[in-house]
Subunit: 431 residues, 2 copies
């Protein structure tokens, strides 16, 4: 198909949604991707590029001629254009911006000047702003007759002469109000106004909590500069959940399925190295008890059980704590109660598993004392796991370190060290 | 405040968003919650209850009089009413339904008859459906003058006389079209129509992929029965991500911060018991090599390092695989490539860590051979971890078992067993 038959290609692609077009691109062999886009020319909807993985997108953009990219950028909504531009190298970014008209360039440049992951980066700069002295009828006529309005919108914003936002009128209210009414009389102040510098995660939290569809974005002076819609926010929510989940599993938040072997091997290596250090620490604890291990080889056989059970219990508590911190459900006001509850759960499960393991060990080795020792160690380690699992995320969060990324190694180090030390230590005192 | 001073309470609460009202309820001591609602009477917005944890909500509803609940349900959107009703016991559900008027009851009963987690449960049954022969002007007038239309809507749906859906006209297009135009001429067929029995997770995936704001829901005969909006979908996305994240951490997907000690202790116990069995299995493997451990206690000191490193590498691969399966990024078409890549990453990191550990062990114990043995075991275990981490989720997924819930114990059992067996086995052959 890629032999240059432009017309067939065009007719095939004409009816595709940008998202399906994105998937089609991903299914193509890499060298064909930019070739197809060049071939389609103006028929290619650059929005499709926003549906791709970052790695894939950057690679394609680098191979396209600047001319093609500039042409493609022209038809994009401002938020999509920024999304595509932001991951490119500085030189390339400037080259593309230089090809655009002055107002287009200024608008994009301004969005790019906002910090990464801020509302300013995500917002769309196309919106409808009207003065309060216009009537509903004027507004409806304006919307009906003006070219070049945003493709989709849910409300009109009401601004004063300096563009300061005084509120909005949703489309459905506009339709249900008499034409003669002044906009100023039906406007409601927006309760959830986003500041252009707000972090996208905080904005997502607000959208979620108040079930918003869109929200105006204002600058420090209260002037409206853009609008955020829930479809952008859905992506943010998905991304943030993704990052937390991966971080807890010891994987970089931005690892993508399309990443190269090298990138992945390197990024996973760092985490495993940290774990290796932790494991060696635990191993040094074991080495303290070489004499006991020599005298009683059953200790070596049983000690991983205590450590592993603690590790899993700690991970449970940590998972709940990290997630509750991310969704802001865990706050200073209820932290004390949750810590107490986790402690109680750890103690309770510790006692239950102590009894179970004591019975198992007695059955396997016929030594009553050994069962008692492993039971006691189990209780100690599950309590330590509960404490570590909740206090470490809480502490990291207070230190402004992302608990999802950093809690894991600390928690398992604690449960390994405490597990081996408690079991072997009690055994050395007992026997 | 709770001494019965209704007026003060009313004025305090009058201006709160339902979500903030929900938070206020959560902050109250449990016995005061139903009391406050009874006190507020008709001034209490039952929507606030949808913002609460399931446990908290059910407890409050059980304590409220049926009369109060029935009154409160009347003002709710159908999707919120279903959301509140669905977690109640059957007897209580029937009692409340009996208090409603016949059409209200029939509508709710129908929604409740759809399976849990289906589109039918989540949809709103209020929507605007018009015939294609109406003009844009008629439609606008109808919207402007009719009472009792849905509170917020983004499009009108065009249906034939049997209510079969032929497409929709978004509000903004309605505004930009001449009043004389027939709706039939501006209607676009909805490309993304949801079937009432579709799973909510699949629906969420469609909303996300195509950046939808709302989508019509149709029954088997193609008749429109409701509409799903993106704010419901945001909750689904959040919930699903939450469940996967918790499942990977060994916690029940529905565990909530407000759950009681007992509930949590029980649900965590099940997972830990599974882990205990796995740990005992690994312990039996260790026991096979009691003689070697007796002869050379350094083996006992080092063996947890091999197992732990494998466990972490396996968890990394598993996390990526589980997430990619959930988002449908990992498909049969690219599974082979991803398996190969993970294998390569495992082999590569295995070799690197083999070299590091060999050096560490030589430095600690001064025995060159021991370094060689641990290095070899490390390579074997990291390759096993990579294979287990990707093949187990893929297999579970093919067997229609949720890989997020069940992969963990399998993967760590493999890395523990292979780790101990490889290290101690090679050692027993070598020395």
């Amino acid at each position: 198909i890629e032999a240059g038959e432009r017309d067939i290609l065009r007719s095939l692609i004409a009816d595709l949604h940008e998202s399906d077009l994105g998937r089609l691109i991903e299914a193509l062999p890499p060298p064909d991707r930019p070739r197809m886009i060049e071939l389609l020319g103006a028929d290619f909807d650059f929005t499709a590029l926003t549906e791709l993985d970052e790695t894939t997108r950057v690679r394609i953009l680098e191979e396209l001629s600047t001319q093609t990219v500039v042409e493609g950028m022209r038809d994009l909504d401002s938020d999509d254009a920024v999304y595509i531009l932001e991951d490119l190298g500085d030189a390339e970014k400037q080259e593309i911006l230089a090809g655009l008209s002055v107002p287009e360039r200024a608008a994009l440049q301004r969005s790019l000047d906002y910090p990464e992951e801020s509302a300013g980066r995500r917002m769309q700069t196309e919106f409808i702003a009207l003065p309060p002295f216009w009537t509903v009828g004027q507004a409806l006529d304006y919307i009906g007759e003006t070219e070049g309005l945003p493709e989709v919108f849910f409300e009109v914003f009401i601004v004063d002469p300096t563009f300061r936002l005084s509120g909005s009128v949703p489309l459905d209210r506009l339709l249900r109000t008499k034409r003669g009414t002044k906009l100023g009389e039906v406007v409601t102040p927006d309760r959830h106004v986003v500041n252009v510098l707000d972090d996208q995660e905080d904005v997502a939290r607000i959208f979620e909590r108040y079930n918003l569809i869109s929200a105006p974005v204002v600058d420090a002076a209260g002037r409206i500069v853009g609008v955020l819609t829930v479809d952008d926010i859905v992506d943010v929510i998905q991304e943030e959940a993704d990052e937390d989940l991966k971080a807890l599993g010891g994987v970089a938040g931005d690892e993508e399925l399309s990443d190269s072997f090298w990138y992945i091997a390197k990024s996973r290596f760092a985490w495993l190295l940290l774990n290796l250090i932790a494991a060696n620490l635990a191993s040094f604890v074991i080495a303290l008890f070489e004499n006991e291990l020599q005298r009683m080889v059953a200790l070596a056989v049983l000690m991983p059980i205590v450590a592993s059970q603690g590790g899993n219990a700690g991970t449970q508590t940590m998972t709940v704590a990290v997630r509750a911190l991310a969704t802001r459900e865990l706050k200073p006001s209820n932290a004390r109660r949750i810590v107490a509850r986790e402690l109680l759960v750890g103690l309770f499960n510790g006692v239950v598993f102590a009894v179970i393991m004591a019975a198992v060990v007695f059955a396997r080795f016929g030594v009553m004392d050994l069962g008692f020792v492993i039971g006691l160690a189990m209780i100690i380690n599950l309590v330590a796991a509960a404490l570590g699992g909740i206090l470490i995320p809480l502490t990291l969060d207070r230190l402004k370190v992302d608990p999802a990324v950093s809690s894991g190694p600390f928690v398992t180090t604690i449960t390994d060290v405490v597990g081996f030390f408690a079991f072997l230590g009690i055994a050395s005192l007992w026997f």
